[in-house]
Every structure is written in C-alpha cells, then in structure tokens.
Symmetry: C2
C-alpha cells in the first residue's frame, strides 16, 4: 500500500477545513492503525498537529504509550513538537514527503537521531512527494 498517498488523503481533509494541509498515518505490521490531520484552527489548540492526533489515537488503539515497531508517514517534515512526540512514542521510522526549507540546521534530525536525551532513535526518511508539496504550495498561495 502507498502509505504516503494515505497521508496525503488526510492532508486533503485538513485542506477542506481551511487548515494547513498536513496529514499523517501510523502503520504497524503493514496495517494503518491510526490517522490524523492538522485541525489547529478549528480546534484552536496548539497541539492539534496531524502527527499528535495520529499518535494519540494509536496509543489508545494499542493501549500502550510504546508504539513499538510502528512507522509514521507524514506529508511534511515534522516540527520539533511532533518530532519529539514520535520519539517519545518509540516509533521506529518516520517517512516524510516534503522538506522543511527552514530546517537549515537539521534540528529535526538532531532531535530524532543525535540527542543524548534519549536512548531510542527514530530513523528519519525523506520520500519526496510532489503532490504533498503542491497541496501545501497552493494553500499558501491562496492565503496570500
């Protein structure tokens, strides 16, 4: 299954609500166990990013804060909050479809792979996806 396509479908749901179109899916044993999309404006809640919502749901589903052997697919490279949450949940791999041009110091890599704060590391894997990029570009064009 094309999990990044599924994450993009989530991003489209955010877009319909007028939210920054970002989506995420969590996969375990080749099955999608949780999805999420950004609803920060609708909920007026700073923590309601796609990844946090998906992690919240996955923990509830597995009845565990440890999302062992899980992978997350997210349309845009995670922010520090979401990178930290992915790490806290012990997610194994994080695939993302669009680079964050502002992450000039590779801070997200540092959080996930190079910090003395954690024993666990999450592998960060860039899977360039034009559609994930286009949906974001168009959203910000319309906003201007």
């Amino acid at each position: 299954m094309d999990y990044m396509k599924k994450a993009l479908d989530c991003a489209k749901k955010a877009e319909k609500l007028g939210e920054v179109p970002i989506g995420a899916v969590i996969v375990k044993d080749k099955k999608i166990i949780a999805t999420g999309y950004n609803i920060r404006e609708k909920s007026q809640n700073a923590i309601d990013h796609a990844e946090i919502i998906a992690i919240n749901r996955a923990c509830k589903k597995l009845k565990s804060w440890r999302l062992d052997n899980c992978e997350i697919y997210v349309t845009l490279k995670p922010c520090p909050m979401c990178a930290g949450a992915i790490l806290n949940a012990r997610i194994k791999n994080c695939y993302y479809g669009v680079e964050n041009q502002n992450d000039k110091d590779a801070l997200i890599e540092k959080i996930m792979n190079d910090s003395k704060l954690f024993n666990h590391k999450t592998k960060l894997i860039y899977l360039p996806n034009e559609q994930c990029k286009t949906i974001l570009t168009q959203f910000f064009k319309q906003k201007r």
Copy 2:
C-alpha cells in the same frame, strides 16, 4: 505567588499515581489558567506529559491556540516534544526547576531560541529548585 511551588504540587499528584513526578502550571496576568502533571503510565499515552496537558487545557480555556503573554512553570526542563509545544503555543517564558543532565548539547535551548524554524522564541529560564529535584531523585531511587 510561588508558581514553581504550584508546579511542584502538581508533580506530587503524579507521584501519588506512581508516575514520574513532573508538574506544570501556565500563568497569564499573574493568574494560573491551567495545570498539568505527567500521567503517561496511567493513560498509556506517549503525549501525556505535564506540559502538554497544561497547554491543552490553557488553549481550551482561552479558546485560542495562541497563548500570548503566557508563561509556563515546569518542575523539570522540558523534553523536545514539550519544548516544541511550548513554542507552538507562543508561550513567552518557560521557567524550569531542574536541569536535565542529558541535555549536553543544549538541544532544548536550540529548539526554543535558536531555530530557523520559527519566528517566535520562548525564553528558557532556570530557577533551581531543590524540592523539584528531590522528588525526582527519590522516585527513581525507589524504582531501582
């Protein structure tokens, strides 16, 4: 009011549940608008750190994801997830009572003050507090 003392009171509630004793309070206009304490084991949810719970409640209370002119007091230096959440919520100042000895690369400072990812910066202020430290030390001693 001694807000760090109030955060410590929250940490004590976590301790009673057998959770790592960490507490947080959010202050606006010299009033506490939200509190939280770590309940990760009880809820089995990776995102249920003290700061996230307090930010969640503060956003609901103010009906806004922007916690403008708010300050957070937390007993232990935030993890990357919580540091990112504090930044995402546009919190002005973050006071913490105990240093994280594993933050050797000052990653938390980088997230809050030195990242190209954000225009907003949160001031990170260390307010050394022996009681915040003791409650943690004792907790981990008993665990061993």
